[in-house]
């Protein structure tokens, strides 16, 4: 500031008086949420049956697994990284849980723990590749994605896993998906209506709150944001940058495996062809989240809203008889609009404000 006086009153004379919130500011902050409410109202009026508890739960259920994966990838985006392996981790968890129960004939607990451990291990390896061997994040996790997609097919020679299948050595798999495991995908809690809320939705909400709290309220979360904003400065402030980065990839891996477990529990078999769209849907939700409340950076609340936004749009359009094959187009359009919100509009804001 060019003020000669040493009094704080200089602030009021300075040229940097905060600009009054103008139309663009409001559009950046609330534009996306307004759009969301607009959609809700539009579908409530024009799609009969949209405005009901069952429809709402259906929307949540349709985005639950994507949303959980997206919350994981949000953690890696926060530290300035990216995790392309989440989709492969989820399908690997799907195959692993089926393998553990059907072929090794173990119980649900063993299957769940095996999947979580696998997710954590993949995250650890990803993190290690990135911070120790200095492989760029996109390339390291792309390599891991390929590796996992291939690996999950080797034990069964590329076939899906189901009770009664013939194994490569000629014997028959006698294990079954335990009822406790299947309950993760099929049980519904009573809430307002009987058997309304599925387990996956509860998982989404709980995990969403946990990730949000971790990133926004704890010092660990703030340090992760600091790393994403200026890694060198965070390191020079004494932060153990490498450890936080590895933790971020481990969170991402574990959450992706949770998504895989829920998917396996819903399907009830180790289906080799499932989960093709998971990676792109999850990444899209996290990126749409940048636009929510004008954050212009990865954030858990935005990610959850991003996932819901896509779910609402698809549910509404489906109820208005828009054909299923337009879905990816719709998602892409939403993503592009959100990215314009984030990068074009907020860039203009910071220019006029600075």
């Amino acid at each position: 500031m060019a003020n000669g006086t040493s009094k704080p009153e200089a602030a009021t004379q300075s040229a940097k008086v905060a600009p009054k919130p103008d139309a663009i500011d409001l559009a950046i902050r609330y534009g996306f949420l307004t759009l969301l409410f607009g959609l809700l109202i539009f579908f409530s009026i024009f799609a009969s049956g949209f405005l009901s508890a069952i429809s709402a739960v259906f929307i949540f259920q349709s985005v639950a697994i994507t949303g959980i994966l997206a919350l994981g990838v949000t953690c890696t985006l926060v530290v300035g990284g990216f995790d392309l392996s989440i989709g492969a981790v989820a399908t690997s968890a799907l195959m692993l849980s089926a393998y553990v129960m059907v072929i090794w004939e173990q119980n649900a607990l063993v299957a769940v723990l095996a999947c979580l451990a696998m997710g954590a291990l993949v995250g650890l390896v990803n993190g290690f590749l990135i911070v120790k061997t200095k492989v760029p994040d996109l390339l390291a996790t792309l390599g891991m994605m390929f590796l996992l997609v291939g690996l999950q097919r080797i034990p069964t020679e590329g076939r899906s896993i189901a009770t009664g299948m013939t194994l490569p050595d000629g014997s028959v798999a006698n294990g079954i998906f335990s009822p406790a495991f299947l309950a993760l995908g099929r049980h519904r809690f009573d809430f307002v209506l009987d058997r309304l809320v599925p387990v996956s939705v509860v998982f989404l909400i709980v995990i969403g709150i946990l990730v949000w709290g971790f990133l926004e309220l704890t010092r660990h979360g703030r340090l992760m944001y600091a790393i994403g904003s200026n890694e060198k400065a965070a390191g020079l402030a004494g932060t153990n940058v490498n450890r936080y980065k590895i933790v971020a990839y481990m969170i991402s891996g574990v959450l992706a495996s949770v998504g895989g477990i829920l998917m396996a529990a819903r399907l009830g078999r180790g289906d080799i062809a499932s989960g093709n769209n998971l990676l792109l849907d999850a990444v899209a939700a996290a990126l749409i989240g940048y636009a929510v409340l004008g954050a212009a950076k990865p954030n858990a609340f935005g990610t959850a809203i991003g996932a819901l936004f896509v779910g609402i749009l698809l549910q509404g359009l489906t109820m208005m008889n828009v054909p299923y094959y337009t879905q990816d187009f719709v998602k892409g359009a939403v993503l592009v609009v959100a990215l314009v919100f984030t990068f074009y509009l907020s860039q203009g804001r910071s220019r006029s404000g600075g």
């Binding site: 060019a2 600009p19 009054k20 703030r222 020079l236 404000g353």
Partner: protein, 505 residues
């Protein structure tokens, strides 16, 4: 011949609600160096950007050698004879290309040039350009292999290749050593003798004393003074720039307390002479020396970023061997690094978050951060350092350079420590911010040893009880800052052989 290279009348410029220039009138005469002074945020850079075609003025006129001049783009300005050397080095060079391509870049970008490159012709012309300013680099070398100072000289040489009529230099010496800066000054002298109008923007009094024929000061987007007497009245110029008098800072050198940090036969690299030095409780020591003299390496070994080639350090009498910045911080050794934009500022955080960053543990319960504790601390720091802001929730990016630097210093003053190292804490800040920071460092010096790395001797004299000179990666001088004789200090800075360290240069 026209008497004025450029006449500027009534230039106004706003960015949104932020009015930066409020009607600037000034003249840049031919054959003279006009120094433009102004605190950070006074509008100097905006004025330069209007003249060099980066921004368009909202109103006002510029005439160049008597003809109306409106630059629509930087290339257009350059072709009209307005040549600008920008402060940021990386704006001036392309690291992946070789020196010759960089020097000839504007030629390559000109419309109507041939489609194919004539490599040999380019290299020959580049050699001529380089020779003209005494730049001794291989024109085939890649820019990324050059030192920072050489890159800066390449950027300057590139601008000089254009036969300028109005030459604008925006803090060109900020990363040059004294010898390199001197080479630049001789070059500016030559352009002045050729009758070119030169507008020179700088914070450095030593540069200004060397080069200025006239001084124009800016304050709050307006011209606040023009100084043309012989000799120039520098004090009055500083006063016009700041709105209050530059006072000599009075240093009361206290008696040194107990030794807090001891360096014992430390060698910064395998070629360096070992150095030993004690830093005492309550003492502020300025370590001065040219760019590349080893100041930053010393800061790095103190903070656990790198390890010394040989020797050991003792902190409070205990062996001190930090393995990481986190280690150093928990031992009570803090470093406020140089170059805040890349090493210190967290752009996504507000003032409070930036200040509390290294000590989040102290502001959290069971890992949950307490905003109110952070805000209390941040507000104490804002008052103590006179940080100009709306509140501690302001994003760091909305602050001016000087205020950002205050926040970075506040970060390391917010907790007590045994040793505080500040590497170039006055980099790119105006004199007022510099005084505020210096005063606060001295006020709080009790209970720790303070080490301030500064290249500018003025800054060392302003803040230190003791001035240590570094040259060729070792310490070559140690002076008490009381009735100090500048002569020997300067010759030590310049790397002259002293009796104490005879035999090394």
């Amino acid at each position: 011949m026209q008497s004025a290279a450029a006449v500027i009348t009534g230039i106004r410029k706003s960015f949104g609600q932020n009015t930066v220039l409020r009607g600037v009138d000034m003249t840049v005469p031919n054959g003279m160096v006009t120094v433009l002074m102004g605190a950070n945020g006074a509008g100097k850079s905006t004025l330069v950007k209007i003249l060099s075609g980066v921004h368009a003025a909202d109103s006002g006129e510029v005439t160049l050698l008597g003809k109306p001049y409106v630059a629509v783009s930087p290339a257009n300005a350059m072709r009209s004879g307005v040549v600008t050397v920008h402060q940021s080095i990386n704006d001036g060079v392309i690291p992946d290309l070789d020196v010759a391509s960089n020097l000839m870049l504007d030629r390559l970008a000109e419309p109507g040039g041939g489609f194919f490159l004539n490599r040999r012709k380019i290299q020959r012309e580049a050699r001529e350009v380089a020779a003209a300013i005494g730049l001794e680099v291989d024109v085939k070398a890649s820019i990324s292999d050059l030192s920072l100072a050489d890159r800066q000289l390449v950027a300057i040489a590139r601008a000089m290749a254009h036969q300028p009529r109005l030459l604008i230099l925006d803090e060109p010496t900020s990363s040059l050593s004294a010898a390199e800066a001197d080479r630049l000054f001789r070059l500016i002298d030559r352009f002045r003798d050729d009758g070119v109008g030169i507008l020179y923007i700088s914070h450095r009094m030593s540069d200004i004393r060397r080069i200025a024929d006239r001084i124009i000061t800016m304050r709050d987007g307006q011209i606040s003074g023009t100084f043309e007497t012989d000799p120039l009245d520098y004090e009055a110029a500083v006063q016009a720039m700041l709105g209050h008098r530059m006072t000599e800072v009075d240093i009361q050198v206290p008696d040194a307390g107990a030794a807090v940090l001891a360096l014992n036969q430390i060698r910064l690299n395998e070629f360096a002479t070992p150095m030993s030095m004690d830093f005492h409780d309550g003492e502020v020591v300025a370590v001065t020396g040219l760019v590349g003299s080893g100041k930053t390496q010393l800061a790095e070994i103190l903070f656990g970023i790198s390890t010394p080639h040989a020797g050991e350090m003792h902190l409070n009498g205990q062996r001190f061997k930090p393995g990481s910045p986190g280690d150093a911080i928990s031992s009570g050794v803090f470093l406020c690094p140089k170059d805040r934009a890349s090493n210190a500022v967290i752009g996504d955080f507000d003032i409070a978050g930036n200040t509390a960053l290294p000590f989040f543990t102290n502001y959290s319960t069971l890992s949950f951060l307490s905003r109110s504790k952070m805000h209390m601390m941040a507000n104490t720091m804002i008052d103590g350092l006179g940080i100009v802001c709306q509140s501690d929730r302001d994003s760091i990016g909305t602050l001016s350079g000087g205020n950002q630097q205050k926040v970075m210093v506040a970060r390391w003053l917010s907790e007590n420590c045994r040793v505080l190292v500040l590497d170039e804490p006055f980099q790119g800040v105006d004199i007022k911010a510099r005084r505020d920071i210096g005063r606060k460092i001295r006020e709080t010096a009790e209970g720790r040893a303070t080490v301030v790395m500064v290249a500018e001797l003025d800054e060392a004299l302003e803040i230190a009880d003791r001035i240590v000179v570094m040259s060729a990666h070792t310490m070559v001088g140690d002076h008490r800052n009381e009735n100090i004789d500048i002569g020997p200090v300067l010759s030590q800075v310049a790397g002259k052989i002293t009796s104490h360290h005879a035999g090394m240069s």
